[in-house]
Every structure is written in structure tokens, then in C-alpha cells.
Amino acid sequence: MSNKVQIQSSVNGEIVDFLCDPQETLLDVLRNRLSLTGTKEGCATGDCGACSVLLDGRLTCSCLVLGVEAVDKEITTIEGISEKDGLHPIQRKFLERAALQCGICTPGLIVATKALLEKHKDPDEETIRYWLAGNLCRCTGYDKIVRAVQDAAKELSYEA
């Protein structure tokens, strides 16, 4: 019962073509067909945020998007966040602040933080905590994560 569909979309700035089943999630497409395994699966039901990606610039759970919905869309995954000359400041601040332990939640948190800081240059703690409420972390505790986001916001606003 395979009705595979041919899809073209843009992932991290590159045009990609893939075949997928109509019911396959974008998360599965990224991980299993495009070998972009930075995006994680925690729950597959929209609750944990480990699968966060940007879809046409908007933060979404890739486990709740069908691969076929990606036609002509621009997708940014964790693999597209780092810069040519190394880690993105958000990634660096997560390391400096030790805002991760097992790391399963980290790609999603970094993608979500990127979307947050594009919209709110100087978010207060409450804004950060609400914005990231859909990204669950079972190891680190949210405090270090919030500090990392605050540091990144500061550094990015100096750069701008």
C-alpha cells in the first residue's frame, strides 16, 4: 500500500527532493530519508518540542507536520543553525552555561530560541519561559537554559 509522493522543498538553504508516504511526518522524513538526525523525537505527539524546526520561519513541531506538507517550503533544522565559522552564539551559550545534560532536548531548544530571539530581541524571563514552555527537558532544569538564552540575547544584540 505504498502511495509514495515526490516532494521538493528547501532544507537549510538547499533544495532537496525526497519520496515519502503521505502519512509520514516531516520529522521522519528529516531523520530517516534526509539523514538529518539532529532533530529528535521525544513524544511524537506535540508535547515535548524535541522535534522543533522552523517552517517558513515559524517554529513548529515537525512530528505534527506531514512530509508532503513541506512542498515548496523552507525548513530550518538544528543542522542549519551553526555558522560557517563555527557554532551559533546560541549554541555557544548553551555550552558555556552547561544548559544540557543528555542533549535530547537541546536541538529543539536551540531552534526555539532562535525563533524567539528573531521576534523578541530583548525578552524578559517570563517571555522566555512562556516561549519555551513547549520544550521539555528532563535532566538539566530550566534555570540554566533560561540563563543561556539571556546570555545569547545579550550577545546577539551587541552584534546587531
Binding site: 500500500m1 505504498s2 502511495n3 509522493v5 508516504d21 503521505p22 502519512q23 511526518t25 511524537a44 505527539t45 506535540g46 508535547d47 518540542g49 522543533s52 517552517l55 515559524r58 517554529l59 513548529t60 513541531c61 512530528c63 505534527l64 507536520v65 506531514l66 508532503v68 506538507e69 512542498v71 526555539a112 525563533a115 524567539l116 512562556y130 516561549w131 519555551l132 514552555a133 513547549g134 520544550n135
Partner: protein, 291 residues
């Protein structure tokens, strides 16, 4: 069992043709908006093949139209996009708050109000807010468009008034009259990311001296469907929302509720909470109407 197929028609006519074909062939088709309910359901049990009909490429379902007397909200517009419209927030702050309560930032980027309504969960947050605002569903079907008041649309837990050949194109809301505003409140055990134990939406209009001259009160999560509570509205119309009138409205909401007991709260507790929420929402709506 057939497999899955996916189509994203660009016009209302194409969408309707696809839905009718499936009906005539006896095969299953299901409309997809944001997918935040549908994909979860496909994961958790209901995984039989079907045609997924994505309505996000239809122009009309992406329209947000500010008319002179009413506002049209297309069925494909995500809650995040709606909440970026200052104008919409000014017109219907309570409805927008309800939409903003749905899930996380990630969920907001996809979830639609019409999807929340069509999914027909008893706890759907936007449903009481839509009812309070006299919302009307614009339904596209083989014989054209028909309209239906939101309070009539949900027929039971997870069921709605659509035939398999129809879909919701959008929602129509009368623009608020002078000194009219709305509010929606829900109670959840956590501060974010949870399902309502009870919810209440209120829209009311005031005269120049602050007397309530019209009101609509709706409650959610305390019965199989969200309910319009006319007795609660009657209790506050003619008053200046003094404690006596608010208590009567609160009792009317508690009385109209027929909640279940589950891990989120007992029936008795829910009945009490929904009354309190009605009072508080009415006060917020009044303060907004005066400002």
C-alpha cells in the same frame, strides 16, 4: 483497507469535488488544517488509511477580512498569525486569548480556531469564546455555502454538524458594538500546556452609565459540548455587574454544567470553578468595554 493519499486543492470547488468523490466511492476523506489534533489522532489509534484534504492552499480559507459589520476569519489561519493582528486583538481580545492558550509556541504556529471547533473536544478553548461572540460557521458544501451558529455546530464529544461533503471555510463574527468587549478564562492545574478543567467566555455591552444591556455567556469543559448559558446572561443584563448579579450568573453556570469527574477534577469541583470563572470573565469583559 486503502492507504493514505494527500491532496492540497487550491480552490473551494476542487476541495468540494474531492470530498464528494470520496463520499460517492464510499472512501474516507478528512480535512487537514494545522494537524495538531489530526496527526496526534493518526498516531494514537485511528491510523486507518484515508485521503487527507489539506485546506491551507485555498485562498478563501486564508482570508482575514475586517468588514464594516463583521469580521471573517479563514479556517486555515494559525493562532500565531491571528495573534499578530493588533486589529483582531482589539476587536475580540477574549477570543484571541483563548486561541493563545492552545498549546505551546510550536502548536500555535499551526493550530487553527476552526480546527479547534471541528475537533469538537469538550475542552476546546476557543469554542466558548466563539459562542460568547455570536460566532457563525461558514460551511462550504455541494449546494453552496450555509451558515450555522457555533453553539449548534458541535453535536457531541468529537462530533460536529458537517456532512462528509462539507468543510468549514471560516468563521464570521459580528463586530462588537459600542462599549462591548469579551473575555475568556480557563482553569488548568498547571500554568501552561494543559487541558481546561473548566472554561468560561463572556461578551457584554454596556450603556453609557455602565449598565449591562446585552450579554452572552458560554462555558466549556463541563459538559459534552460547550454551552451557551442564557440564564447567566439574563442575570447580568440590567445590572452594573454588582456582586448579586454576578453571583446569580455564577450559579446559572454551575447549574448548567454537567461535568464528569476525572484526574483533573471532580464534577463538584468543576461545577464550582466554572461559576467563578464566569464571574471573573464578566468583570474583565466589563473593564475592557469601559476602557
Amino acid at each position: 483497507m486503502g492507504g493514505y493519499t494527500y491532496v492540497a486543492p487550491a480552490t473551494v470547488a476542487d476541495a468540494l469535488t474531492i470530498l464528494s468523490e470520496h463520499k460517492n466511492n464510499g472512501t474516507r476523506a478528512q480535512v487537514l488544517a494545522g494537524g495538531t489534533d489530526l496527526l496526534v489522532q493518526m498516531r494514537s489509534g485511528d491510523n486507518a488509511g484515508r485521503a487527507i484534504v489539506d485546506i491551507k492552499n485555498i485562498k478563501e480559507s486564508n482570508n482575514l477580512v475586517f468588514g464594516e459589520t463583521e469580521t471573517f476569519i479563514g479556517a486555515a489561519i494559525s493562532s500565531a498569525v491571528l495573534n499578530e493582528s493588533e486589529k483582531l486583538k482589539e476587536l475580540f481580545p477574549g477570543l484571541l486569548e483563548a486561541a493563545d492558550l492552545i498549546g505551546s509556541t510550536q502548536i500555535q504556529g499551526r493550530a487553527t480556531i476552526a480546527g479547534n471547533l471541528c475537533n469538537a473536544s469538550p475542552a476546546g478553548d476557543t469554542i466558548p469564546a466563539l459562542i460568547a461572540n455570536s460566532g457563525v460557521c461558514v460551511i462550504s458544501g455541494p449546494s453552496g455555502e450555509r451558515q450555522m451558529a457555533v453553539e449548534e455546530f458541535v453535536t457531541g464529544v468529537g462530533t460536529n454538524a458537517l456532512s462528509s461533503e462539507e468543510f468549514v471555510l471560516g468563521l464570521r463574527l459580528p463586530n462588537p458594538a459600542l462599549r462591548t468587549s469579551d473575555a475568556y478564562l480557563r482553569f488548568i492545574p498547571r500554568t501552561e500546556m494543559d487541558i481546561a478543567v473548566a472554561g468560561a467566555g463572556v461578551s457584554l455591552s454596556l450603556s453609557e452609565d455602565g449598565t449591562c444591556i446585552a450579554a452572552r455567556v458560554a462555558i466549556g469543559a463541563v459538559a459534552p459540548t460547550a454551552l451557551l448559558v442564557e440564564d447567566a446572561a439574563e442575570a447580568i443584563v440590567g445590572s452594573k455587574l454588582d456582586e448579586g448579579a454576578l453571583s446569580k450568573a455564577s450559579e446559572a453556570c454551575s447549574g448548567a454544567a454537567s461535568p464528569i469527574s476525572d484526574k483533573r477534577g471532580t464534577a463538584e469541583y468543576r461545577r464550582k470553578v466554572v461559576g467563578v470563572l464566569c464571574k471573573r470573565a464578566a468583570v474583565i469583559a466589563r473593564d475592557r468595554a469601559l476602557s
